[in-house]
Amino acid sequence: MNHNPAISQQAISATDLEFSYHSHATNNVLGPLSLTIARGKLTSILGPSGCGKSTLLRLFAGLLAPSHGVLSINDMPGGAPPRFSFVFQDPTLLAWSSVQDNVSLPLKIAGISPSEASQKSFVALESVGLANAINKMPHTLSGGMRMRVSLARALVTKPDVILLDEPFAALDELTRHRLDEELRALVENTGITAIFVTHNVSESVFLADDILVLKANPGLVAHRLSISDEPKRDPKWRRDAAFHKHCEDLAAIMLETAS
């Protein structure tokens, strides 16, 4: 992985990226594929189970190393390498720590003083609407609230890129819609780069500026789609005719790539 000093509109670009679990494996889990992720936008990676969506996300995060090809994580406009955050499908909270201790964990690891960490984690929790739950234990919270804690933990370090691996898939429809809306607002307001893995077509259309459709065995980018006609998203967008048109088109593309 090389850090490109040139300031780029692309947060991440991959060229002929390949991944397999064994160096001499004949079949790749992923690739070879090439793609770019736009800075300050929400890119959704859409595809069926087992198409390597999560693997791709782990490659971006540096949790896995590419087997072949080039993955460049471009520097931020200031010249610094971007900071990453990861949100898993499960909230992955520390069961033995309070909500606030969970959120301040990344700060504690970074060596930030306890008072500053508790102040910053409070702000992060406030931003996800959990200011009054800071002393609660994770097991006393609902699934949606736990996911909010997980989001707050991802945001507390003020990351440049946030990677989300089907974060709301296990939540009920209403909660998922609300969290989608909040995430979208976050991207619009802060200019954070978000990469959102999902297998849900309408969630993808609601959230994303760019959609990458992956196909399985091996994971390849089958289609790339931009939804640029509606930069501001609010709940009304779900009832828009264009929204439904995009959903239908995307569903047709997915059906096509699956066959």
Binding site: R58, A61, G62, L63, F84, S85, F86, F88, D90, T92, L94, A95, W96, S97, L105, P106, K108, I109, A110, M137, P138, H139, T157
Partner: protein, 261 residues
């Protein structure tokens, strides 16, 4: 019939009182000789008579047990941390840990005694009890460290946590239920180990409860044997409840086993 919470607490005590009365009566009615089965009253008298030697013997046994448990805890946990960090050491050492565990400690004890020397009997007793107590802490801790949620490990990696931070903030709290399960077993085993060690070493040098049992047996003072036995049980119960309290203190806020049904 509904049994209330208080009744369930009182029932075992009532049973104990009933059994003691039956025991006392049975010894009287069937005229069982004292050197076969002393009556509870005889045991009480023996306890009062040997009070001082019993208490000091209990202290010796408790001290040996506590030391063995302490070193088993430190050693087991430490080795488990090394094993999970470097598989190399696990491959290298685990066979020997198993050999130490499966070889009956009674068979190793004389060797330990000879090596440590009869002038340091207490140290030999601690080592023998340690051998017995060490294994459950090790295996349970290893199992606990292994079952840390992989996504949380990834999260710590992503945040750039170092080994020490991962250990303190993630691995130890996550493995704590298993570590304490190991500790609970080891605590009981440390006492058993201390008694076995003293039986083997018991040639007049040791002064713990096990030695008192042997000595009273030789004198056919069965009442004193029972008194020692009774104290041993009390030590065992104390260790057990100490572990329960430790679990309660550390896990009650978050672990599923402490949530109200």
């Amino acid at each position: 019939m509904m049994i209330s919470r208080i009744q369930t607490k009182i029932l075992p005590i009532l049973l104990a009182i009933g059994l003691i009365i039956f025991w006392e009566a049975a010894v009287k009615i069937w005229e069982i000789p004292r050197f076969l089965l002393p009556s509870p009253r005889d045991i009480g008298a023996a306890f009062l008579q040997h009070q001082q030697s019993l208490i000091s013997a209990a202290q010796v046994t408790l001290f040996i047990t506590a030391q063995a448990f302490f070193w088993a805890f430190i050693g087991g946990l430490g080795l488990a941390i090394i094993f999970t960090r470097a598989q190399f050491f696990e491959r290298l050492l685990f066979p020997y840990v198993v050999i130490l565990q499966v070889t009956p400690v009674v068979a190793i004890a004389p060797l330990v005694l000879i090596w440590v020397g009869y002038e340091n009997v207490n140290r030999a007793l601690v080592i023998i009890a340690w051998i017995v107590a060490f294994f459950p802490i090790l295996t349970n801790s290893v199992a606990g460290f292994r079952s840390v949620e992989p996504n949380l490990r990834d999260l710590f990696k992503l945040y750039g946590a170092n080994h020490r931070q991962t250990l303190i903030y993630l691995e130890i709290p996550s493995a704590l239920p298993q570590i304490l399960t190991g500790a609970k077993i080891s605590g009981g085993l440390a006492l058993i180990g201390a008694v076995v060690a003293e039986f083997v070493a018991g040639s007049g040098n040791s002064t713990g409860l096990a030695w008192l049992i042997i000595e009273s047996g030789n004198r056919l003072d069965i009442a004193a044997m029972f008194a020692s036995l009774f104290l041993l049980s009390i030590i065992g119960i104390l260790i057990f409840y100490f572990m329960i309290a430790l679990e309660w203190f550390t896990l009650r806020h978050w672990h599923p086993s402490f949530r109200t049904q």
